[in-house]
């Protein structure tokens, strides 16, 4: 195998990948949804009768119609009404309190609360027929005023749920900071930052195919957490989990957006069971742009204080988070920002508050970075403002405040215990790789030459969290040796493109001392691996990797014990090396795994293994050139130094770093959802209106790594997948603010579209303001 290719590449790059939409099941029906064309309104009527007359349409139902659906001979007959969308308590993403009194119906009954909320479902012989039917459904909705930002919704002048506040969750971390602290500080800077709503935009949108057979249901879905999906679907159906099998075939990206049981999933599974026929829903791009979960969405207020030497004394972050119309999946997500508010600095006092506010938008949910980009942008933009205020070099201000390497484990004022870090090391490497001093000199030259465009240099130092939250830091799996010399590794993760097929067999092979080609990975199938957590929070390498290493070592112990019994010697005298048992003190006895299985029978170990939370970190640096007349931003250089502890596969980590940096560029410069006054997103042209960076927009990106192992996982690996989304946006925004020398950097709110930058470029510069 070439070092840069992955085991899955040949299949995926030659069109041999098998995604949910490629799975052919005889008699399968396609579902299409009729969607609200208002953001907020009262449902007056939904009439599916015309749709049922459309050729090829098998059925069409509103929420009310489903109640009258006849029972079938299937064991789901006891399931009468369509169950509501489940909520999750995992990682404190939601709470009982937040969902109380706020039901999320799968099909809207009397109220729609976000654009595109489903009103009816139509199933047809294929997707064309289903869409023909959906077009024939008539509905009437009386519009209500819509609120699409947290700031607009927080005053409850428009309520999403009658009698309940839009503020569905309040939280805080750290201790409130007394006024004298601010008054006595040598410098205090305040900022207001808006983190726009983003779309995760995986290449493949959401998919589900539900196939009922006898008393079982097999569900195929591009999903990050097959066991959660199985558990939640079984609960909805009131079935034992064993009756549901979830399989994750090839999946075209997820970025966090494919962890939940979505309304459409509930409808599809319900109909498959009720009709006794396979039903699938393959979300298309425009549907995804309407109703796939959003990321980010915060209005932030910051206050950062330092003494005269530039040592930080206090930091305060107030967040009004837009969590969308229903609190079920992500109302607690903004707490990630609060918990990570401290960043890489030893600030003694840090206080963060959160108000999660319901708005008439689709639900906000973890999207690559999930709360940490928001924390990094707020803090790192504040750091640049402070450096300017103090007249210090922004790199020097940061260096002066880093938590030093000898202080780990470090308890932050916001409740995290950082495992390990060498933040100055990452900064040094980033500055050296960028040629920081050279760019500063170029910047100074340009500032004296009116024929040149202004140049800016931006830094962002970040700490992120990987592995998951307490209660979700373990993984299940096992290793099995076969008679033919092959080894099967199983685990509870599910890849949506993260190279598990390459990395995990390599890890197992290395631990066992066998040829990598003999090891095969099985994951994403709840029949093959009955327990598991999944792939999210950059946890697969760190947590599942550790589990597979642990299972491999258990297999070695099992092999030694069997050899000892076979050879009639104490187990201490059986050694293991290069995939074989042999007598420790010489002698001819030796058997490889295949021979041992032949001699002693099937050999398989399974276990659960727990790791600790880890805190990857890094420094991103960007150089931008701004055309003040048009407001265009050109990224000339981007350097990303990431430390994810011990790297299992450099090419794979590099790919993750590159891809996430590009998504970070998207947040900084291009991606955003404009809304009309009626609360409807203005995206009629799909990806022609919601602009993601394409190959033409990618600047020269240099990726470097430092290695500070995590002491909390046996591999020393930390999560690697989210770095660019976390570090890159702040670096670019800081670079643009630096180019324009803005007195009030809050004028720059992402995405930095040309009109935003042009307006900012006309605003007072900081020297002028200081005069």
């Amino acid at each position: 195998m070439e070092p840069w290719s992955r085991r899955e590449d040949e299949r995926l790059l030659t069109g041999e990948g098998r995604y949910v939409a490629d799975i052919k099941v005889p008699g399968c029906l396609d579902a299409a949804f009729v969607r609200s064309d208002v953001a907020h309104g009262t449902v007056r009527s939904v009439d599916c009768s015309a749709a049922r007359e459309v050729p090829g349409v098998v059925g069409a139902w509103s929420a009310a119609d489903l109640l009258e659906m006849p029972a079938c001979p299937h064991s789901a007959a006891r399931l009468r009404d369509l169950p509501p969308v489940p909520y999750t308590l995992l990682a404190k993403l939601s709470t009982q309190e937040a969902v109380a009194g706020r039901e999320w119906p799968v099909l809207a009954k009397d109220r729609v609360r976000y654009p595109g909320e489903a009103l009816a479902v139509v199933v047809g012989e294929d997707r064309y027929r289903a869409e023909d039917g959906a077009a024939a459904v008539a509905f009437r909705i009386d519009p209500l005023p819509a609120v699409v930002t947290a700031s607009a919704a927080a005053d409850d002048s428009v309520r999403l749920f009658d009698g309940l506040s839009n503020i569905a969750l309040r939280g805080e971390t750290g201790e409130p900071i007394e006024e004298p602290v601010w008054q006595e500080a040598a410098a205090v800077v305040e900022g207001r930052y808006r983190q726009q709503l983003l779309m995760p935009t995986p290449m493949e949108c959401r998919t589900i195919l539900a196939v009922p057979e006898d008393d079982r249901l097999t569900v195929w879905s591009g999903h990050q957490m097959p066991h959660r999906l199985r558990r939640e679907l079984a609960t909805l159906l009131d079935w034992p989990v064993e009756q549901v099998r979830v399989v994750v075939p090839d999946t075209g990206g997820s970025f966090g957006s494919k962890c939940a049981t979505f309304p459409e999933f509930v409808a599809v599974v319900f109909l498959a069971v009720k009709l006794g026929r396979p039903v699938r829903w393959i979300e298309d791009r425009l549907e995804s742009m309407k109703v796939a979960t959003r990321g980010r969405g915060q209005d932030q207020k910051t206050r950062l204080a330092a003494d005269a030497e530039g040592r930080l004394v206090a930091y305060e972050l107030n967040i009004d988070a837009d969590v969308g119309a229903y609190p079920h999946l992500g109302v607690g997500l903004p707490m990630q920002t609060a918990w990570m508010a401290t960043g890489p600095y030893g600030t003694p006092r840090v206080h963060a508050t959160v108000r999660s506010v319901l708005t008439n938008t689709m639900v906000t949910y973890p999207y690559r970075g999930a709360g940490r980009p928001e924390a990094t942008i707020a803090l790192e933009r504040s750091m640049d403002m402070l450096a300017r205020r103090l007249g210090m070099d922004p790199a020097e201000l940061r260096r002066r405040n880093f938590i030093p390497p000898e202080s780990f484990p470090y308890d932050t004022p916001t409740g995290r215990r950082y495992d390990s870090g060498d933040y100055a090391g990452a900064l040094d490497l980033a500055l050296k790789t960028l040629g920081y001093d050279g760019w500063r000199a170029a910047q100074a030259r340009r500032r004296t030459d009116p024929q040149t465009l202004p140049l800016g240099i931006g830094l962002a130092c970040y700490v992120e969290r990987s592995g998951g939250e307490p209660g979700g830091l373990h993984e299940f799996g096992g290793v099995e040796a076969h008679e033919d010399g092959t080894v099967v590794a199983r685990c509870g993760t599910a890849s949506s493109g993260q190279s598990h097929e390459t990395v995990f067999p390599m890890l197992v092979a290395r631990t066992l001392g066998v040829d990598e080609a003999r090891v095969r990975l099985v994951e994403g199938d709840t029949d093959e691996q009955p327990e598991g957590l999944g792939s999210f929070a950059s946890r697969s390498a760190q947590v599942a990797g550790a589990m597979l290493q642990h299972a491999s070592m258990l297999l070695i112990e099992e092999a030694r014990a069997r050899a000892a019994a076979l050879w009639g010697m104490p187990v201490e005298e059986v050694a293991w090396s290069d995939g074989a048992v042999h007598a420790a003190h010489g002698g001819s006895a030796a058997m490889d795994l295949a021979e041992l299985v032949k001699a002693t029978g099937p050999m398989r170990v399974d276990d659960r293994f727990e790791s600790g939370m880890a805190f990857p970190f890094g420094v991103h640096a960007a150089v931008t050139e701004v055309d003040p007349e048009l407001g265009t931003v050109r990224v000339l250089r981007l350097v990303a130094v990431d430390d994810c502890g011990v790297v299992l596969n450099h090419a794979v980590v590099r790919g993750q770093a590159f891809g996430s940096a590009v998504q970070g560029i998207g947040q900084a410069l291009y991606e955003g959802i404009p809304f009309g006054d009626d609360g409807m997103p203005l995206l009629p042209g799909g990806l022609l209106d919601y602009l993601v960076p394409t190959a033409s927009e990618i600047p020269p990106i240099t990726i470097k790594e430092t290695c500070t192992p995590s002491p909390r996982t046996p591999l020393g690996a930390k999560g690697a997948g989210e770095s660019g989304c976390i570090g890159t946006p702040a670096a670019i925004v800081n670079a643009v603010a630096d180019a324009l020398q803005l007195a009030d950097p809050s004028l720059l709110q992402t995405p930095l579209t040309p009109d935003v930058v042009w307006r900012a470029a006309r605003a007072p510069k900081y020297q002028e303001a200081a005069r």
Partner: protein
């Protein structure tokens, strides 16, 4: 999204195509490159009952020069114009400067110039070039052929003088003289997105004085525009001096022309991320820069390379 059901026919000759378009029982649309029509059909935005696929009509796949004009048939793809040598002289340069702004290579390999004219998107590069150069659009129906000047052809976003039963068989551009400089500059958010502003310009300078100027504006109104007020302000003005960096003094004729184009010729509409104030600013800047490019191409200093980001 999936298209609603439609009928499909693939004529081999122009008369066959015209017969299909003449079917009064159903709405018909012509399929050439399909880079807009197919998307619209998938979006179920007014899809046709009948798709008339002209890709097998061999006589429409031609490009020739005669009588001082370039004639481009309805099946000539965008990418043909990527080479400045594909078309003689300054016209070839102008078309090559414009074409690289059209989407990405795969789209340029399928989409057609005539298709862009028929679709009449307000941000279309070809529509602005056609208006700037007074191109003639040749329309054929079963009753005969008529020629409509580009200035009379565009009536609004996706609205043209073409009758539903007519087929645009070709477009004719006048060739440009050797003393004509050309420029095309586009401003957009990403390479893939539509122009926020695009400008096509030609300048003919004699003895240091601008003798002729043509400026076509894309996405500066509901239809492509010729910036006539700006052109008039240029004619008779001294052409130089200026620098390629194009930080020109406020009273330079190009700067003035940019302002006039933005304030008097253009009628920009607000859109997300570009309100009217910003769009007027962008129009003024892009017109000025396009004129610099056109003058640079003409001047003894030699032809200026393409500006901006032409990937």
């Amino acid at each position: 999204m999936k298209a609603a059901a439609f009928d499909y026919t693939a004529p081999r000759t122009v008369p066959e195509a015209l017969d299909a378009l003449g079917d009064t029982r159903r709405t018909a649309q012509v399929l050439a490159g399909g880079q807009s029509l197919i998307l619209e059909m998938h979006l179920r935005r007014g899809g046709p009952d009948l798709v008339v696929d002209i890709n097998r009509v061999a006589e429409l796949d031609h490009m020739r020069v005669n009588g001082g004009a370039l004639q481009v048939g309805a099946l000539v793809r965008h990418r043909v114009f990527e080479s400045p040598q594909a078309v003689p002289g300054a016209l070839g340069r102008l078309l090559s400067l414009a074409v690289v702004n059209i989407a990405h290579p795969p789209i340029r390999a399928r989409g057609t110039m005539v298709g862009s004219l028929a679709w009449a998107h307000p941000a279309s590069e070809w529509c602005a070039v056609a208006v700037a150069l007074d191109a003639d659009i040749v329309l054929q129906a079963s009753g005969g052929t008529r020629v409509v000047a580009a200035r009379d052809f565009f009536h609004g976003p996706h609205l043209t003088a073409r009758h539903p039963r007519e087929l645009i068989t070709s477009v004719r551009f006048p060739l440009l003289g050797d003393d004509t400089g050309v420029g095309f500059v586009e401003h957009r958010r990403t390479h893939f997105s539509f122009a926020q502003v695009a400008v096509a310009a030609t300048l003919t300078v004699r003895d240091g004085v601008i003798g002729d100027a043509r400026i076509g504006l894309a996405n500066c109104a509901g239809s492509p525009l010729r910036a006539r007020a700006a052109e008039e302000a240029l004619i008779g003005a001294e052409a130089g001096p200026f620098t390629a960096g194009c930080r020109l003094p406020g009273d330079h004729p190009f700067t003035r022309a940019g302002r006039i184009a933005a304030e008097r010729d253009a009628a920009p509409l607000a859109e997300p991320y570009a309100d009217v104030e910003y769009r007027r600013q962008a129009i003024a800047v892009v017109v000025r820069r396009t004129l610099c490019q056109a003058a640079d191409g003409w001047s003894p200093g030699g032809p200026g390379g393409p500006q901006g980001d032409h990937r």
